[in-house]
Symmetry: C3
Subunit: 202 residues, 3 copies
């Protein structure tokens, strides 16, 4: 459980940065909206997963470290945002790191709670993308899942990879690391080569 915990903290911190940075595109932005958005982006997906799975108390309610990780992300964004934004790839980096960790952490958590692999994969994807979806919905943006970008699909592939390796009896760390890398690599390739999810209606 130890390493999962550390990864959840790192993922939360990464998502808080990507959330706070996202507020920059809003017509109005302030300390409250930046903090609120960082908070929603980083804890939204996991919170939805835990509510759906009836897994209480919610992690950020029972363990104040999560809130501090969000606050650290907000402060780091505030202090360093000129550098963070200058590097056009920063938001991408933190977001990709966040979705990779959260997908696998979410999939694992759901499995531990005894649900079927199909449901665990859905929960992994929800953990990773729904924080961003809630953020986008609140700020009247169209969520990335409606953009044809290979985003949630990358998470889904990673979750399935983990579940397959897990089902084959591969050790937990190997499965975790392999699956997270699958997500990161798919995301990098998808952005680089402008991959698109196939159209449903032609």
């Amino acid at each position: 459980m130890k390493i999962q915990y550390i990864l959840e903290i790192v993922g939360t911190f990464s998502f808080a940065i990507s959330g706070a940075l996202a507020v920059r595109d809003q017509k109005h932005q302030d300390w409250f909206s930046a903090s609120f958005t960082a908070f929603i982006t980083s804890i939204g997906g996991g919170t939805l997963r835990d509510i759906l799975l009836d897994s209480y108390p919610l992690v950020w309610i029972s363990d104040i470290t999560i809130i501090y990780a969000v606050m650290a992300g907000i402060l780091v964004t505030f202090v360093f945002y000129k550098y963070l934004i200058g590097l056009r790839k920063t938001l991408f980096f933190f977001d990709t790191w966040g979705i990779a960790l959260f997908t696998i952490v979410g999939t694992e958590k759901a499995l531990h709670l005894g649900v079927r692999p199909e449901i665990a994969a859905i929960m992994g994807v929800f953990s990773a993308v729904m924080g961003g979806v809630i953020r986008d919905v609140m700020t009247n943006e169209i969520p990335i899942i409606y953009s044809r970008e290979v985003y949630a699909t990358a998470c889904f592939t990673g979750a399935c990879t983990y579940l397959m390796l897990n089902g084959m009896g591969v050790g937990r760390y190997t499965a975790f690391i392999t699956a997270a890398f699958v997500i990161i690599i798919i995301r990098i390739l998808a952005v680089k080569y402008k991959w698109r999810v196939p159209a449903f209606f032609r």
Copy 2:
């Protein structure tokens, strides 16, 4: 419980089709967004109801058949959408079927969990319409409940019909079928004669 179960499956399947078809109006659509939208539309209302009523595990988490019904709806939409869309009334048909079933199934479920009839009626309406509301909110559409169409109002009337018949001691199947037909007929008449819910401010 048997027939309620079958009707929930049929309602889920109907809503999955109406959800997947709805993605066609989006600027971008792909396999993921169609599947995600079908899923949210069909399980959103019942999930909200069960979270509000603290009724766990959620049906689609404990029973994989629901997920398969959603997948069947997605596949049927993909294979037959040229015919489905050609028939302008198809989306209306599946949606009406879905809201009629979900309203009564939701009202019944809430009653069985011991809440008052007023709350059961609210839960019935939520089961039927909130999946669509969540879908519309995510895709930046104004939900149908803000259109003056007789939609949620039809569900509410059906839920009240069920509760009244139930209170009068009418048999369950009679009450169920009568109330579902009330919803379907109101919806058909409302669309045909362009009924509007009365204005609140004049």
Copy 3:
């Protein structure tokens, strides 16, 4: 518990009026959308708080008085809206009264459920503002928290005031009333002098 209960009823009634009045700005409005919006605005924040804290049954499900308070708010709005809207400050009055009560009631409830003060403050703010946020999201408005207005920040300050006084051993009623007044006064001053929350990015 008695006074908290009465204040929750008064807050619910106030929020129902502000919710129903808000529908007036919609392209379409009718009895259903006004009632639905009044309901969501007044019970949304507390419902989210209770779901996050796993505090069941939800207040409005176990106690029908809440629903009646919402209905009373809707009826009062319908009968008197010409006068209510004529007084440009009415919406502001009911909304300010609502957020002040709900912030402190929500903070108290969270504390009683045993969470840390930091979490209790978040829950207080959520109780007060999330009903309005859900309403705005559903009607495609940008929530007030993205407007730089001193709104959620006023609630947060009030929640912290309550927690500080509470931690110092001040009596409950004194702490409650002081904190509620802090919120009301900050809101009045903020609107009068057009205070803005400091920008996050400069």
